[in-house]
Symmetry: C2
Subunit: 364 residues, 2 copies
Amino acid sequence: VDQPLAPGARIGIFGGGQLGRMLSVAAAQLGFRTRIYSDTTGPAFDVSEDGTVGAYEDVDAVRKFADGVDVVTYEFENVPHITAEAASAVTPLRPGARALEVAQDRLTEKSFIADLGISVAPFAAITTEADIETAIKTTATPAILKTRRLGYDGKGQASISGAGDVAAALKLFADQPAILEARIDFAFEISMIAVRADDGTMVFYDAPRNTHKNGILDTSEVPCGASPEIEEDARDIARTIADALDYVGVLAVEFFVLPEAAKGQRLMVNEIAPRVHNSGHWTLDACLVSQFENHIRAIAGWPLGPGHRHSNARMTNLIGPEAQQWQALAGQDQALHLYGKGQAREGRKMGHRTQLGPKTGDVA
Amino acid sequence: VDQPLAPGARIGIFGGGQLGRMLSVAAAQLGFRTRIYSDTTGPAFDVSEDGTVGAYEDVDAVRKFADGVDVVTYEFENVPHITAEAASAVTPLRPGARALEVAQDRLTEKSFIADLGISVAPFAAITTEADIETAIKTTATPAILKTRRLGYDGKGQASISGAGDVAAALKLFADQPAILEARIDFAFEISMIAVRADDGTMVFYDAPRNTHKNGILDTSEVPCGASPEIEEDARDIARTIADALDYVGVLAVEFFVLPEAAKGQRLMVNEIAPRVHNSGHWTLDACLVSQFENHIRAIAGWPLGPGHRHSNARMTNLIGPEAQQWQALAGQDQALHLYGKGQAREGRKMGHRTQLGPKTGDVA
């Protein structure tokens, strides 16, 4: 993408879920057409010009898909390497294969971030039972064992208080390569939704404070209540990571904010996501330009839109059967977003709601 | 539609233009699917589950379309009567055939509004040249001659300063039935975007002040600068009209605000539109719930969303080649909406942009 894509151009998206759907809608608002490629049909297909259901490993189908669009992006970090390779041989892939490689393996991700001089929780790779003892020396206990690949929303994770727990969890994970991470005693969690254009220009949204329920994001709220210095640090860290990846698009960085008692740096990176992020959904309603639109602007080579918000916001996810209360939810003074998914399975993200209030600054 | 439509239900839309497109996107946000029926393909097709290109007079195709959805609505008031009849025999049509009948003939519209005791410009029907003299006695000159049907954006209109002009204009209009309207000396124009639910509940947006260029809406701005009493009158009038039509959905009413010197009532209705309206596009960016979403909520039998705005707003249309400046427009602190239309023909609505500012109340 050397020239900005003109309105009318086609944007391809790997993944047909709610993030792809919201990306499609944002692209449409700027006059673009979107096409979806996914291994299963999903809610993004309903708001796109065209959709292909195919295996990600079917490189012929992937190539054909990429050939029909002007740029390809993705809504999830687990796009297989061969898929990314096949697509990018034909059409620009943004944010790009390197971001996928880093983000889809927790060991690669943690090492990459630590190598940039950014603070992360102490961690150690566990490939076989023989690694357990040394790993626990690195992290101490309590710790968390995570599969290196394909974990999300708390899946593929186990709490560890001793070596016996690790052995048991490894069996549960069918001996997949894993990573042991120290459990961090943090004050609260925030995230940075950053956007990077291909010329390196960056736009940052205010950092939301995030809470989780059963390992799944529950609420994101701005302002987050951290000091301006902490938010500044979060922006600097996001910039360092994005620059190192020569990143184009929205990058989400999740942070632990350490307690006041912690000396020096009070931020520690938990993980990154090379895509639009659930903790940025409030930008749809509280900002002139949402994270979805700014992702589209970035990958299309457009000027980024402003990241400032006009309101305070509190986003709450609607998980599984919670979305069945849509009638009551629609009657309240809030924005309601439903993703058009069929089955309200336990733990499935079905929608979210956003309450707005008059804008106030950060509470330091 | 006796029960509220559950998410996942299908909404049919007559018309495939930008209003249908923005309705589709709003419907998707609530988890609905949309299908478009239009006599030509258009930008709404790109964000819909399915689209049918067919003649509006092809009642078999219309019936089949209506049969595939749970409610039918429209983006334009010139849906032919037989189309509305065919659709509504199969599936609920909202706002309904009566609203179409009233709005698609300027004489019926004016008479209907005047019969409700609401002030409109003096008017008279002109069917043949024999009607000219009496008509001019009613309206005086200067006046405006308009075709009764199918005029929009200043098309099918002619300025009249004497009987000779009328005769000439009638020829230009190929002897279509016309209406002569007095030219009103107004201070400025506002509109009321009102939403009515099927139980009669109404929600009103703040009235924008509208300016036109070459007969086409140029800008809409809130607050409009009219007194609270005038805005209250505008709401009352919109309610009277909506109630009389047993209306469901968004109804737009355009008003002339008369100069201070005018005694008594300072509002006069210019025209109504039984649909979402260009002068309500700012609600996309300045309100939690836009006119498009509230139209969908109303026709789906949902609770209406709040109509309040969080910001001041100024919407400017991008007409014809103006939209070719998208790169410069995208670099400014504003929301940019492009409709995905192919050709930037002179006078064609290609997109709009919205600037926001901190909210202030009305300037009395």
